[in-house]
Amino acid sequence: MFLIPNAVVRFFHRMASPPHFYAFTDKVMPWLIISFVLLTGFGLYGGLYLAPSDYQQGDSYRIIYIHVPSAWMSLFIYMVMAISGAIGLVWRIKLAEIVAISSAPIGASFTFIALFTGSLWGKPMWGTWWVWDARLTSELILLFLYLGVIGLYGAIDDKRVASKAIAILALVGVVNIPIIHYSVEWWNTLHQGPTVTKMDKPSIHVSMLIPLLLMALSFKFYYLIALIQRIRIELLQRERNAQWVKAKVLELRL
């Protein structure tokens, strides 16, 4: 702890308190939305208009500007969920528990988008909606892991207990994800050998890469916006008997 500057510690300490967090998000939200809109605008303009078409795939490659960032987000959000779940388990920080459960539906949506856009791209490119490729299969299993977390949280009535339960489950999932990933890769290579999915890794051109990175960043901002909205609702629900929520309600009624 002594390695971290005092101001940072104080910042996180304050953020762990619901009323402070609520007030803080009121202030940052406009900036997040502006950054998201700008990044998405530039990213899409660069990706859909400025970037040249691929010499092999034509224009249909442009789906990567949605597909690849979603796939990145699906793993990133799982890590966020597991880490914040662990923080909630160890230090009993309410906000960390809420971050964990609020991340789950967003992560599941990104996973679904990655799978869906992948199959849309696969139809013209590979001639089939679905192949049992290693990446597709492990992404599908990731979706099941997300759904398990959401289902478990919904099944337990006491939400404090439910938060602990999903934290344990998410941590078990984190240990398992690499094992599942490598086992699926092994299974795939042994069963099918080199498949249609075997693309020799093209070194992506800069004019295509920059919009991709912009989109990746804009997805991060979108995640933050969606996460904060979910956290705020969850906070209001859990803290409905607290004084600051009452004050907030009265203030809004004016």
Binding site: L89, I141, F144, L145, L147, G148, G151, L152, A155, I156, V161, K164, A165, I168, L169, L171, V172, G173, V175, N176, I179, I180, S183, V184, W186, W187, L190
Partner: protein, 224 residues
């Protein structure tokens, strides 16, 4: 009373309980046999087809049978309160939980090994792969019990835990299914299976060491 003695006492108690209630042993076993009997009825009795998919059938059925038997792992102890006593005891909960899992495997996992060769013959599996099938079942079914225990521990306090349990546990079973099924298939074509067996052993060691912790933590959470 030493920890080791407590460990043995729990195994002994659970085995004794299982002997008194024999249906607990018989149910997963009958389920395993029935599911495997259903496959030829569903897909037709062509020997080549059955022989080709036999490793997959046997392993998927074992997976389902293991999952179905999981509910009995902590259910009765949870209902009559002895689970709380176990968790309150001065010994580390994870070790005692491991004892319960081992006893559960002896009751529900081991019988699968005994009938598996018979079912393999039913499906026309080549003789050289039956040994490998038994080996993978010996290494794989304890992993199913260990990973499944985490899922049951999370859902034991719920009234409708059954459906959610399969959603929690089955994705985590994927690696075992892949390596075990693959090993049996390779053995059928006379190829070496050392790599798959080694990986199964390492998965078993890993889950033996790691799984009791989250199980104990989840049980403590479910009990209070």
């Amino acid at each position: 009373m030493s920890l080791f003695y407590a460990f043995l006492a729990i195994i002994r108690r659970d085995l004794l309980l299982a002997v008194r209630r024999r249906s607990e042993i018989a149910n997963p076993l009958l389920f395993f046999i029935l599911v495997i009997t259903l496959f030829p009825l569903g897909i037709g009795a062509q020997p080549h087809l059955l022989q080709a998919i036999a490793p997959g059938i046997i392993w998927v059925s074992a997976l389902l049978a293991a999952m179905l038997s999981l509910d009995s792992l902590f259910r009765s102890d949870f209902d009559d309160g002895s689970l709380e006593q176990i968790l309150l005891s001065p010994y580390p909960a994870s070790v005692l939980v491991l004892a319960k899992i081992i006893a559960h495997w002896l009751v529900t996992g081991l019988p699968l090994l005994i009938v598996a060769p018979l079912l393999a013959v039913f499906l026309g599996m080549p003789t050289q792969s039956i040994g490998v099938l038994l080996l993978t079942l010996l290494l794989g079914t304890p992993v199913l019990s260990l990973i499944g225990a985490i899922g049951v521990a999370l859902t034991v306090g719920l009234r409708r835990g059954g459906m959610i349990l399969s959603l929690l546990v089955l994705p985590l079973y994927v690696p075992v299914l892949i390596f075990a099924g693959n090993a049996v298939e390779m053995a059928g074509s006379g190829l070496p299976v050392d790599a798959q067996i080694n990986i199964l052993i390492s998965i078993l060691c890993l889950s033996l060491v790691l799984a009791p912790w989250p199980t104990a933590a989840a049980l403590k959470m479910s009990v209070n």
